[in-house]
Symmetry: C2
Subunit: 854 residues, 2 copies
């Protein structure tokens, strides 16, 4: 068992020593930094990833040489040091080195009680965590006097293992190190850290440190200190100090602890030990400026002497992280680009929606897919009409539906949250809710009965209309009752960081906005224009829906023309309002896309009502509805196919856009509208619509005696359009990739029908991610690059963009930026996420190139 | 108006003269060939395409020099000579050169009646076709004596034009030539020939020939002769000869004509003029052996002297064309490969189905899409049950449905034809009918009322159940009543030609076959194995459907397993039968593909019945049906998604295949089954199914103590699978491209929903062709080549093929062969078409390379 000492591969941490995050882990590197700052860190040794791997492999090593670093009869603690602190690791082991002899010595120096307690704690930890003995055998001792408890534990150990408790420090240390090394390789530990992004071969380092005692004569104790409030990020000395403390100390465990600063509620370290307190605040400030981060310091006072055991990043809320990053940059400690890099873009959504107070106890009645973030409290309603009535009464409501359809949009607008039984992350409910910024949970584990107006949870509990629930769209849960909420935060720090992000980034961000309300929100989130205005939503409002239906049921061309003529002023006023809000910015309007049957009632009662309204026999109405119904609506007569079959519709829309352009340009900055043709699959479709739209433009110019410019482009959302982009680009000023439909068609998978198996697909690793949530770079991404390359080759000045759900995802933005796209467009609430993510791409590149230069 | 004669660009046709099909047209070339064979052709001059173009452009030319070729005072005829005789051209003009002087001379030589008649005919033709005068002005003369009639015509001409009828031959000829040149450029003429495949700039040549008179002293007359029967291709001297005939003669115009060969019905040329008859048969045989074609010869006898005016390909039926081609090859006149090239592959379908007698008067009650070829007569039925009942009574029936669904398959099997109101060329009805070889018309212009069991034609006529109609699946029509039919012909000549085709071709042809009946048909059509066996059709039969539904409704895993266990022996016996029929040939079996809801009833009555059968509450049944229903079934939980979600299904199918392999190999040649995974979009899907199928194979080998081999492959039918083919190919022995689904997904267009606008899309030229009918080479084709290239790069020995509707199309076969595919697979009835088309690709290449070598 005797080998050369270098086979353990330990390194004493000194100012100069080969310690790196990717060889010894973050904790080892941080401790070296503390030492370089002359902080009083006890003797510490670091074991590299390689050394720990060897231990786990069962190689026997000699630890004697390492022990010599700590002088005679050391007491030691061992802690994990993984590359990223988020990846976890085995728990720390304290008081290694305790044995009968050390016990006797401590009895003399610190008294029997302290010696018994320290020895007992070590025996218990060692038995349970290292020898994996039954914890129950070591828990009876609590009620006994300390000497009897210690004896009982030592006896229990011998009973279970048939060996006396090991007295040799070498044996104790070796077994502790090997046990921790092996725990790292356990399946659960591996899965947990991989879920946090650790690679499969992530290494573990270990830290061996001389113990400092927080018990004993003179001023002795352990404590924690940090210089900010972890919820808000505001400057504030936080922490506690506990005298005569035997082990670790947590902020939450404040029994008999001293406050750090002077406090009317009780004694404080500042008053009782001003010199220790001064040193701690000095060290904290030093850490902040030199480690360029807000650190939480773990310390021990041993007989009046301060020792710094460890320092970790202050664990903080998104709001605190944002304020800290901005404050560090404003103090000149980090560059602004570094501040921008420190905030995970997706975490911004927390700031922009009300959130459920994390300290609240949750009574979960349904779990589902987190489809639109934020929290909301409201009473249950089961129809759009009920939602509108509730909203009119001034009562907040949560709309519950099997799934939503276009006719539910007004109800969704009237609700503070939406809960559905069916659908996936890009189902109708999810997409619309995200666009509106309304919290939404889809595919929830409940059974909805719309007739009895009840929902039955999977545990059998039944809720009825009017009952209050809390919807957590960020976590995908519905909670019983009203839960405490935190308000959204769009404060100075947020605005500052976003300003810096906008200065840095080099790809534009637009918003998908269908209504004036959406547009106002988009402006509020500083979108650089509207990338996708879906005109169909404009036709679902009361009167308009009726006219739309009259158009669909028109018996003659003249009737159809008459109905369309009545839609014209409505559309025109929509666009005038939109252009007024967005003035000076581009607005991209998609011509009508959905199949006509979406505008018709889906049930018999609705059909009857419609028959009355149109003064037609019910059978005629149902026959027409049936005729318009489709096997696969997603792949049916929609988009440009509709526009070519009923050219009057697009002609009306083009006229409304152009007339609105003239009107809006009278009252504000001139508007350059962009007209987008949906669902193109062949160049000829573009040519035909372009001819028509150009003719309408000429007619409007002529009639109104006013000039305007506009751009006509194509929504690339079929694989064929991407493949034939070189042809299509000849007739288009821009190509905007609709990644939702492209994903559906590349996979042959409807987003509405994917929910039933997507979760199991992801769990089984069939798909690495839900491709409707994270852009499928391999497949859909290749269609994007093919389309972009071919389009640009045919028309070098063509504008390229992505609209649709993926537009706001950091991964998609990275992809689009790399492919040289001009902008991404996403729902208004995701605009800040996209702005920050886009900035981070630039900042990360600069940082990497700076590092290379060094 | 005087120019150099060479500006007309005429060429006197001699043995040696620069006459070519692509400069002077087919008729000019053929006449030169007749001259080279020393046939007595009157003096003939050819005008090139360029010369005719100049005439049409209005260039004035001097025709005097050309007229000199014909000696003094010639009488001439002018005929068109386009590159392909099918492209048409203006009608011939006869007797050019007739004028007062010529009339006087002819009165002396041939008598007044002949002279009057010839002059009158010319004046009429000239006035109507050249000067475009009102035909009515020239039709009154019929009742008058010949001299008065002539005078009236000359007067009418002068009245209408204010000019006397032109007496100068130069003027007459020039105007005739220019008029015919311009007629070629008319819009109607251009559209008509473009519909037959002519290029936009197709040229017209003209033939000017000295007239031979079939009237006058001695033996004089005109006639036609050919050596085969144009319906059957059997050797038979066909034609007529008419004495003292003034103009052209058609075979159908047989008043007072002589038979050619001795005939009991009347006088014959053979008996009356044996020397003329001998010459004609000699010339005909000479034409056949030297022009390598069966020709129809037009001749004139003038005072006992034979003149050959023209010879054209005998216009013939497909059956006659086939027999002629084979006979020419057997006689050593053309090579076999040339015989193979002479039959348009698609025309074979005529031979394989009964056809409606083309001479029948048609009373069309509905027009639609020709979805499955052939003709059928039967009584109308409106449900599958009625079809089966009718079939049981031995009565032929035509099944009429709005559209068909999987549960209609048995009804379709029981019908002789299928007519639907909805759907396109690849709708369910169309695909299944083609597979069965049942004539089918979809998207028909009728309104079907299933309740009253009537169909209403667009002209208002109403037909009820039991009424007899004739369905023409080749023309896409339904005809009132029973129409005369021609039987199918799979005779010696057909079999001989197909044998030659099989010897030549270098790409395999397999059949899509789901049932033993399909497989037997596939063998009958000499398919080289089964390329696609869709297993789902096996589950729609009576008992099986019930078990399938029990599986779907299973409350527990054990129940599901139990139902699946009952399906196993049924599947196994299907496969044993299939393998027995196909022994020695590959059989590619696709694992279950359709969404489960296809196996459930679609209406309330069916649901009630099912609830009774399963002893469940109706509400449970409807809830389950509702839960399984999908927004876009085509893009839902089907194919491999089903296989991964319910792994028991594929495990059962794999076991049935392997157990059947062992059984079938005991009684015949060993079978190597191919197992195909449908709707793959990611490599991991293939890995997972492969792992499972391999495990089943190992278990079966172990249990049965028998060995077998099999191949596992992937159906590439999503764009993503094509793009990721390099990954997928690592786990697949073959890739079979499902072009139907690939087309649907490339275009974002469901084949079932396309019918509503596809016709108008094609008419407007938005799509050049229906992409479900003709492979879209630009888009879908690129996905095929991407998939093939990437797949082959990763696995050079991988087998590549196309299955699905496009597989049988000559254009698709050309594409697949060029891309190096191993085989195509199509419905059994298209196998002969595919075999011939594949052979033609090789033969055409060889012919081209032989021509280049010359």
């Amino acid at each position: 068992m005797q080998q050369k000492h270098d086979s353990l591969g330990y390194t004493r941490i000194r100012r100069v020593a080969p310690i790196a995050v990717n060889t010894h882990g973050g904790r080892a590197k941080c401790l070296q930094r503390l030492i370089r700052l002359d902080l009083p860190v006890p003797e510490t040794v670091a074991l590299s990833f390689d050394a720990v791997r060897k231990l786990a492999d069962g190689q026997s090593v000699d630890v004697k040489d390492m022990l010599n670093s700590f002088g005679p009869r050391p007491l030691l603690c061992v802690r994990p040091s993984s590359e990223d602190p988020d990846w976890g690791g085995p728990g720390a082991m304290l008081n290694i080195g305790m044995n009968d002899q050390r016990h006797a010595e401590l009895t003399k120096s610190h008294g029997a009680e302290v010696a018994d307690a320290l020895y007992l704690r070590f025996v218990q930890s060692y038995a349970i965590h290292i020898e994996r003995l039954d914890p129950e055998e070591f828990e009876n001792e609590k009620s006994l006097p300390s000497d009897q408890a210690l004896k009982a534990a030592l006896d229990a150990y011998e009973n279970e293992t048939d060996e006396a408790f090991p007295q040799e420090v070498e044996v104790q240390v070796f077994k502790v190190l090997r046990s921790m090394a092996r725990a790292w390789l356990g399946t659960t530990a591996r899965l947990l850290r991989q879920a946090k992004g650790a690679p499969a071969d992530a290494g573990l380092g270990l830290i061996v440190q001389a113990m400092s005692f927080g018990v004993g004569p003179g001023e002795s104790g352990t404590g924690l200190i940090q210089m900010i409030d972890e919820d808000t990020g505001a400057p504030l000395i936080r922490g506690r100090y506990k005298r005569q403390s035997l082990g670790r100390f947590r902020l939450s465990d404040d029994t008999k602890a001293l406050y750090l600063t002077s406090d009317p509620r009780g004694p404080s370290l500042e008053q009782d030990c001003p010199d220790v307190f001064d040193k701690l605040t000095t060290y904290s400030a030093l850490c902040r400026s030199k480690l360029r981060e807000e650190m939480q310091i773990e310390f021990v006072v041993e007989n009046g002497k301060l020792a710094i055991l460890d320092a970790v990043r202050v664990n903080r809320s998104t709001r605190a992280a944002l304020r800290t990053a901005v404050q560090l940059a404003e103090d000149g400690i980090i560059p602004k680009s570094e501040a921008v890099l420190r905030i995970p873009p997706r975490s911004l959504t927390e700031l922009l929606h009300p959130q459920i107070d994390p300290s609240t106890q949750r009574d979960v009645i349904a779990s589902g897919i987190a489809a639109s973030p934020g929290g909301a409290v409201g009473r249950l309603v089961f129809s759009s009409a009920a939602a509108q009535a509730s909203s009119a009464r001034g009562e907040s409501c949560i709309l519950v539906r099997r799934e939503t359809a276009p006719e539910d949009i007004r109800g969704m607008h009237s609700s503070v949250g939406v809960l559905t039984e069916r659908g996936g992350v890009t189902s109708h409910a999810a997409v619309i809710a995200r666009g509106m910024g309304v919290p939404c949970v889809v595919g929830a584990s409940v059974s909805i009965n719309t007739r009895s107006k009840t929902i039955t949870a999977s545990d059998g509990r039944v809720l009825k209309e009017g009952d209050t629930i809390t919807l957590d769209g960020s976590a995908g849960q519905a909670l019983l009752g009203a839960t405490k909420m935190l308000p959204p935060a769009k404060d100075y720090w947020y605005l500052q960081l976003m300003d810096w992000a906008d200065d840095i980034r080099d790809i534009d961000v637009r918003a998908n906005a269908d209504t004036p309300a959406d547009a106002a929100m988009a402006r509020g989130f500083k979108a650089q224009g509207i990338g996708l205005c879906r005109t169909e939503h404009m036709f679902f409002d009361g009167d308009r829906l009726t006219v739309m239906r009259e158009m669909i049921f028109a018996a003659t061309d003249a009737d159809r023309q008459e109905a369309i003529a009545r839609l014209l002023p409505m559309q025109r006023s929509d666009f005038i309002e939109l252009f007024r809000i967005m003035q000076g910015q581009p607005v991209c309007i998609r011509l009508l896309d959905p199949p006509l049957h979406e505008f018709l009632p889906s049930d018999r009662a609705g059909a009857k009502e419609l028959a009355e309204a149109l003064d037609m026999p019910l059978s005629d109405v149902t026959r027409r509805i049936e005729w318009l119904s489709e096997f696969n609506p997603m792949l049916g007569m929609r988009g440009v196919r509709l526009g070519i079959t009923f050219p009057e519709i697009y002609a009306m829309q083009a006229r409304a856009i152009f007339e609105a352009t003239i009107e809006a340009s009278k009252i504000g900055d001139p508007v350059v509208p962009e007209v987008m043709i949906p669902l193109v699959s062949a160049m000829r479709e573009v040519e035909m619509v372009k001819t028509q739209v150009d003719a309408v433009a000429a007619a409007v110019r002529n009639e109104k005696g006013a000039d305007f410019t506009y751009r006509l482009g194509v929504m690339v959302e079929t694989p064929r359009a991407a493949l034939r982009a070189h042809e299509i680009a000849q007739h288009a000023a821009f190509l905007s990739f609709g990644t939702n439909d492209l994903t559906q068609m590349a996979y042959g998978l409807s987003r509405d029908d994917a929910g039933r198996f997507m979760n199991s697909y992801i769990q089984q690793g069939v798909f690495p991610e839900d491709p409707f949530h994270t852009l499928d770079v391999d497949g859909v991404g290749e269609l994007l690059t093919i389309g972009a390359d071919r389009g640009r080759k045919a028309a070098p000045d063509i504008t390229l963009s992505v609209c649709g759900e993926h537009g706001g995802n950091p991964e998609s933005i990275a992809f689009c930026r790399a492919a040289g796209f001009d902008y991404v467009s996403c729902s208004p609430f995701r605009v800040p996420v996209a702005r920050l993510a886009a900035a981070q791409l630039v900042a990360a590149e600069e940082k990497a190139s700076n590092l290379r230069r060094k």
